[in-house]
C-alpha cells in the first residue's frame, strides 16, 4: 500500500512573492481552479493582511473552489488573523519564525515572547472556530529541542498540522529526514514540508521529508517563489508518484502546468 501524500500549493502566496511575478485577480482565480481540478488538497490563497484587493481575490477563490481547502497566511499577530477572519478561509495558517536568528534579530524579541505570542494567536483563531495550522519559519536553522517544545505546546492546544519550512533552502535529504522524523516522533504532529531550491535539492528534500513521515508537501507551479523558488509541483509529482499515493496524476499535472505557462512568465528586466 502506497502511503498517501497531500499536496499543498503556495503559488498564490510564496510564488506570488517572487519578484517578476504579478498575478491579477483573474489570474489567481484561473490558477486556483486549475489546481483544484488536478486534485490539490490545500491552496494557500494569499495574505489577507496585505489589503482589500488581496482579500477580494481570496473571497473570489473561495467562491469557485469547493474541493480544495483554502488557507490564509498570517504573520504572528492578532491583527493579521483578524484580516483572515474576514475572508472565512477553511484554514488559518500562522507563520511562527522559530530560529534564534529570526526571533532575536528579525523580530528583536526572545523565545519566551515567541511562545506567549504563539499561544495567544492560536487561542484567538481557535476560539473563532477556525482550523489552524502553524508554520515554523526557518525551521532548518532552528534549535531542534526548542521546536519540539513549541510543537508539544501546539499539540496540547489541539493543533494537528505543522509546516516545517526550510526558508533559506539549506537542507539536504539526510538533515531533512532527521529533523522531520524527530519532530514527528516527539510531538505527534502531522508534518507539512516546505522546501526552497537554493541548493537544487527542493524535490529531493521533499521526497526525504515524505520518507521521514511528512504527510503534506508544499509546492508551487514551475517552482516559482523566493530566490531560487519552491519545490516545483510537476517535478515533485513526476519524481514521487510511483512511490506515493498522491492525490494528483502525473499526466494531469503536466497538462495543468502547460495551461498555466502564459500566466507565469518571469519578467525580463
Amino acid at each position: 500500500m502506497k502511503k498517501q501524500l497531500y499536496m499543498i500549493d503556495t503559488t498564490l502566496r510564496d510564488g506570488a512573492q517572487s519578484p517578476g511575478i504579478s498575478f491579477s485577480k483573474t489570474d489567481k482565480i484561473e490558477i486556483a481552479k486549475a489546481l483544484e481540478k488536478v486534485g490539490v488538497y490545500q491552496l494557500e490563497a494569499g495574505i489577507p493582511a496585505m489589503g482589500a484587493s488581496e482579500k477580494e481575490a481570496i473571497l473570489a477563490i473561495k467562491d469557485v473552489c469547493k474541493k480544495s481547502l483554502i488557507a490564509a497566511w498570517n504573520r504572528l499577530n492578532i491583527k493579521d488573523i483578524q484580516h483572515s477572519v474576514d475572508c472565512s478561509p477553511d484554514i488559518i495558517h500562522i507563520s511562527v519564525p522559530v530560529s534564534d536568528l529570526q526571533v532575536y534579530q528579525k523580530l528583536q524579541k526572545d523565545r519566551l515572547w515567541l511562545k506567549k505570542e504563539m499561544l495567544a494567536c492560536v487561542d484567538y483563531a481557535l476560539e473563532k472556530g477556525f482550523f489552524v495550522t502553524i508554520g515554523f519559519e526557518d525551521a532548518s536553522r532552528a534549535d531542534l529541542a526548542f521546536m519540539i517544545e513549541m510543537g508539544t505546546v501546539l499539540q496540547e492546544l489541539g493543533v494537528k498540522q505543522l509546516r516545517f519550512a526550510d526558508t533559506v533552502g539549506i537542507l539536504t535529504p539526510h538533515t531533512t529526514q532527521i529533523k522531520v522524523r524527530s519532530l514527528i516522533e516527539y510531538t505527534g504532529l502531522d508534518i507539512e514540508f516546505h522546501a526552497h531550491n537554493d541548493l537544487g535539492m527542493a524535490v529531493a528534500n521533499s521526497i526525504a521529508a515524505a520518507r521521514a513521515g511528512a504527510s503534506f508537501i508544499d509546492t508551487t507551479i514551475n517552482g516559482i517563489g523566493e530566490r531560487t523558488g519552491n519545490c516545483d509541483f510537476y517535478q515533485f509529482i513526476k519524481a514521487a508518484h510511483s512511490f506515493y499515493d498522491i492525490m494528483t496524476e502525473e499526466l494531469a499535472a503536466k497538462e495543468m502546468v502547460q495551461l498555466l505557462e502564459i500566466n507565469l512568465h518571469r519578467e525580463k528586466d
Partner: protein, 333 residues
C-alpha cells in the same frame, strides 16, 4: 536521541573527495568553436575540482589552439580504444562498459589509467563509474550507497537528473564516504549541478573551497555563449535573479541582517542583491529602495506611496523599474 546523535556524527568532518568536472564531455551537440571552449576551460579551472573531463572531440578542438593549461589532471571520455590511442599522456580514459550490463537503470563506465591496456584488472583500471540512479532518491538510497562503498571497489558516481535529484544524490554519495563524484556546471547533460554540489559541501563543511564561487558568473557566461541560451534566472547558485527580493517581510529581514533570508551571500557567488519594487513591497522595502536610489525621505507620504506602488504594479502586471519608481515618489511628495 538516536537521530540527534546521527546529526552530530555525520556533519562537519572534511572528507577526501575528488570532484570530476565533466562539463566538457557534455557539449558535443553544440558545435562550439575552439576559442569558446578554451575560454570555458580556463574559467572552469578556477573551481576547486580535481579532474577536468572532456570528450575526444572537445580535446581535439582545444589542442588545435594550444596545449592545455598545465598543473591539472585531464580525463578523456572516449567511445573506443582507437579514440584513446590518438591521445596519450592524459590522467585517465573513461569508456562505456556495455558488457557489464546494468544495475537497475544505471550503466557502467570504466576509468582506465592509460591507453596501453584496456583490460579490466587492478593494474589498468582506476575506477568503475556508476551512471544513473536518477530514480533512487525515493528508495533506500542511503543503505544502497553504504553497501556499494563497503565493497571496496574504486567506485565513481555520476548521478542523472531525470527525477530532479541528481545534486542530492551526489551530495549523499560524498557525505557517506564516496571519494569520486562526477558533476557538470549547471548540471548540463542531465546531471548533478557542480556549483550546487560545491555549495552544499561547503555549507556542510565537508569540502574546502579555497576561496569563493564568484568565478561562477564568468563560467556561466562562457557556457551560455556555447549553448546559445541563457541559464534560467532562478537557477540555484548561479541564477541571475536569485537575490532579487520584493516581499516586504523578506526585505525587512535582509536590511537588518542578510543572513536572515539568504543561504549564502550574493557576493560569494559573484552576484548582487536587488530590491525590487512591486505588489508585495512594504514600507521598509520602499525606504530601502529610496535609500539605494539616494532619494531623500522627507516630505514623502509613505503610506500613499506603498498604496500607489501596489496599484501601479497590479495594473502594469510587472515590477517597477528604478525610473518608474522614482516617478512614483515624485507624485507623493
Amino acid at each position: 536521541m538516536k537521530y540527534l546523535m546521527q546529526l552530530i556524527y555525520f556533519s562537519g568532518v572534511r572528507r577526501m573527495i575528488r570532484i570530476i568536472d565533466n562539463t566538457l564531455s557534455c557539449l558535443d551537440s553544440y558545435h562550439a568553436s575552439p576559442h569558446d571552449l578554451y575560454q570555458l576551460l580556463e574559467s572552469l579551472l578556477k573551481l576547486p575540482t580535481t579532474y577536468i573531463e572532456m570528450s575526444a572531440s572537445v580535446y581535439e578542438k582545444l589542442i588545435s589552439l594550444k596545449t592545455l593549461p598545465p598543473n591539472r589532471k585531464y580525463l578523456l571520455h572516449v567511445v573506443s580504444a582507437m579514440q584513446a590511442d590518438r591521445h596519450p599522456g592524459l590522467a585517465g580514459y573513461i569508456m562505456p562498459a556495455e558488457s557489464f550490463g546494468k544495475m537497475g537503470n544505471a550503466v557502467y563506465e570504466i576509468n582506465f589509467k592509460n591507453m596501453d591496456n584496456f583490460v579490466f584488472d587492478e593494474k589498468c583500471v582506476q575506477g568503475l563509474r556508476i551512471v544513473g540512479f536518477a530514480e533512487r532518491m525515493a528508495k533506500e538510497i542511503e543503505q544502497e550507497i553504504i553497501d556499494i562503498l563497503a565493497s571496496k571497489e574504486k567506485f565513481e558516481f555520476c548521478p542523472k537528473n531525470d527525477y530532479f535529484c541528481a545534486t542530492a544524490l551526489a551530495f549523499e554519495w560524498c557525505r557517506l564516504g564516496g571519494q569520486k563524484i562526477v558533476a557538470s556546471f549547471s548540471g548540463i547533460g542531465n546531471q548533478a549541478g557542480l556549483e550546487e554540489l560545491l555549495m552544499a559541501l561547503h555549507l556542510e563543511n565537508l569540502y574546502e573551497l579555497k576561496g569563493d564561487l564568484s568565478c561562477c558568473t564568468e563560467i556561466k557566461h562562457c557556457l551560455e555563449r556555447i549553448v546559445g541560451q541563457n541559464i534560467a534566472p532562478n537557477k540555484a547558485v548561479i541564477g541571475e535573479a536569485i537575490f532579487a527580493v520584493e516581499a516586504g517581510i523578506h526585505v525587512d529581514g535582509i536590511v537588518k541582517n542578510p543572513s536572515i533570508y539568504e543561504p549564502y551571500p550574493p557576493e560569494f557567488v559573484g552576484n548582487k542583491r536587488q530590491i525590487v519594487m512591486g505588489q508585495y513591497s512594504g514600507r521598509n522595502a520602499v525606504l530601502a529602495k529610496m535609500k539605494e536610489l539616494q532619494i531623500p525621505e522627507n516630505g514623502v507620504d509613505l503610506i500613499k506611496l506603498v498604496e500607489l506602488l501596489q496599484h501601479k504594479s497590479l495594473v502594469l502586471q510587472k515590477n517597477l523599474t528604478d525610473a518608474e519608481f522614482a516617478n512614483l515618489v515624485r507624485l507623493v511628495k
